[in-house]
Amino acid sequence: MERERFEPKIIGFFCNWCSYRAADGAGTARIKHSPNVRVVRLMCSGRVDPTFVLKALSLGADGVLIAGCHPGECHYIEQNYKTVRRYEMLKQTLRQFGISERRVRLVWASAAEATQLAAAIDEIVEDVRTLGPLNWQSNLAEPNHLDEVERILHEHAEAMEVAR
């Protein structure tokens, strides 16, 4: 038996104006946090299409963190309200897929909230570590089908030949 610590792979979708700057700020201030989030910078959290989240999960991410400006502070005025609505749809859908809302989170962080963003990162990483790897491709795996296909071929071949 091997004991290896599971390191979650989290994809982060951060908005350019607030949360990405907060992440930058965490860096300059040398605030320690889990290194597990791979950040993708978008101009606005409203750009996050559920497709991005689904794709990340299906391709091996264990979790997704979406971070945007606080409601009322969006650089593009109202788009983060769209983020909330889409996120709620996605959250309820993912729950039915068997994917917990602990894995796919929406947080707000203004450019000055580096500490809070770091805490949010730590929190999602620990939650996902406890839940375990998602490993979605293994969820789709089926036992080898070729034996079955062979079996059917043989079954057909063994039957009696019939005159036309």
Binding site: R3, F6, P133, P143, E155, A159, M160, V162, A163
Partner: protein, 500 residues
């Protein structure tokens, strides 16, 4: 191996998948024969968790040849589930729509699926033994009539219900849209033409089938005769009704066995499981499962056009009633147990359907504006039942308070006939395939004719899905380390692996 195996794979000119396996003994006689159904999809399971109102659209995908049957049974189940009574206009619209559908579906079966055996002959070359061969042989005048009937039926179903394959029209408490006077007129006109077509089809059957001694002998032969119980829906006067009524079951001797409201089906019908087919075998509970045998003491029953005519006292419309009498007079009285006579019964039903279509099209309430009422009560449980062209169809839903399905049971037309079809196939095989005879493709086609009379719809029958149980066990330590992962997959091998 001493036994040889003949495999008819796939069976053809029906809806769905199946294979017939015939085992010969050392002498070349048939030792046993089985109709195996290798397909399943799992509706009874995957519909759980769906909103009940989705069911008319989900269950219509059980079968694209008779989607209207499922759509209608489902809609009626929703009425019962929500305790809502549709207004008279809605019921009449539904029954008219349904009659158009039955007439069209019976046309498809008779001409495209069963017809080739009689028009081209059971031993005709495979390339010609199909609807295209028929069209070449009978010529465009007749072929044109068949195409027109299907086209008109398809068009009217679309006009009323949205689409012909998978209509989207039924709601609890009624239908989503009514018809106007212009549409009603068109429906009536096409209906009158359809009555003529039904009469023409019966005449064709008289000429080609009843006028051919070889076919008549085949129909009345022992190889194609079974004495089983018969099931059908009848109205208050014991006349055949496709849309609504009570279920009546009549014995092989013609005596009434039982009459019940569709919602009580579970007191009378149970289903049996075998290891060699994914399709279950319904039987009459009070008599019991006695295996693949016929007779009064066996719980096997048929639900086919012939059964419906056997179970009823007559047809509710004049022309069809005339033909009903003529059939029983010709074949020696009620009940008729000759499987191939089902084709005749189907045409009589086609005639009734067209007459009923016109009757309802002329009803003063048919263009009424009140075609829907909203439910006011919470849903809990409901049963909806109609006569699908292929047999009695039952949908049973249970939901929570929000109308989300918690349990589903479906007993579908062809499923009712699973055991009798097996019996018919085995008997036909035993009679036709004997020692010393060369087994030809034409001979095997005659064995297939034994099931074709039932107009099987295996997609309907096999709405559910079994399987073997895979199991995955993941062992983790309290702080999230995965220690061990064990998988038992279907062929019962155990693999273990370490999580990296």
């Amino acid at each position: 191996m001493a036994t040889q195996r003949i495999s008819i794979d796939p069976i053809t000119r029906l809806e769905g998948h199946g294979k017939i396996e015939i085992f010969l003994d050392q002498d070349g006689d048939v030792a046993d024969a089985f109709l195996q159904i290798p397909e399943l999809r799992g509706f009874e399971r995957f519909c759980v968790g769906r909103p009940a109102e989705d069911m008319p659209n989900l269950t219509s995908r059980i079968c694209g040849v008779c989607p209207e049957a499922h759509h209608m049974a489902s809609t009626k189940a929703l009425d019962a589930l929500f305790h809502v009574e549709p207004p008279p206009t809605a019921k009449k619209l539904r029954e008219m729509f349904y009659s158009i559908f039955v007439a069209t579906d019976h046309t498809t079966h008779f001409y495209a699926l069963a017809g080739p055996d009689f028009v081209m002959g059971p031993d005709a070359p495979v390339e010609q033994r199909n609807i295209l061969g028929i069209i070449k042989k009978v010529g465009m005048e007749i072929a044109g009539k068949v195409l027109k009937m299907r086209k008109d039926g398809h068009h009217l179903i679309e006009l009323i219900g949205g689409r012909a394959v998978h209509p989207n029209w039924g709601v609890p408490g009624g239908v989503s849209r009514g018809i106007n006077e212009e549409q009603r007129r068109e429906i009536e006109e096409r209906g009158r033409e359809a009555i003529e077509f039904a009469k023409f089809s019966i005449q064709l059957f008289n000429d080609i089938v009843l006028g051919n001694k070889g076919y008549v002998d085949l129909i009345t032969s022992d190889g194609f005769t079974h004495r089983t119980y018969n099931m059908g829906t009848v109205d208050a006067n014991n006349r055949v009704n496709f849309y609504d009524g009570v279920i009546r079951i009549v014995g092989p001797d013609g005596k009434e066995h039982v009459k019940y409201r569709s919602k009580d089906y579970r007191e009378y019908i149970a289903e049996h499981v075998e290891t060699w087919s994914y399709l279950k075998f319904p039987y009459l509970k009070k008599i019991g499962w006695k295996g693949f045998v016929d007779g009064e003491d066996s719980g096997l029953y048929k639900a086919t056009p012939l059964s419906r005519l056997n179970a009823a006292d007559g047809m509710a419309t004049p022309l069809a009633q005339g033909e009903y009498r003529r059939m029983y007079e010709t074949l020696g009285g009620k009940p008729v147990n000759h499987t191939l006579a089902t084709h005749w019964a189907r045409l009589i039903e086609m005639l009734y359907a067209t007459e009923r279509w016109v009757e309802l099209a002329r009803d003063p309430e048919i263009t009424g504006r009140e075609y829907r009422v909203l439910p006011t009560q919470k849903p809990d449980e409901g049963v909806g039942c109609v006569e699908a062209p292929r047999g009695t169809l039952t949908h049973h839903y249970w939901t929570d308070e929000r109308g989300i399905l918690t349990r589903v049971n479906l007993i579908v037309g062809t499923t009712n006939n699973n055991a009798p079809i097996n019996l018919s196939v085995k008997q036909a095989a035993k009679t036709l395939i004997r020692r010393g005879e060369v087994v030809t493709e034409g001979l095997l086609n005659r064995v297939e004719m034994a099931f074709r009379a039932y107009d099987p719809c295996m997609a309907c029958a096999t709405h559910y899905l079994p399987g073997e149980m895979p199991l995955t066990v993941v062992i983790r330590s309290a702080d999230g380390y995965t220690l061990h992962r064990l998988t038992r997959s279907a062929p019962a091998t155990v693999q273990s692996g370490h999580q990296r």
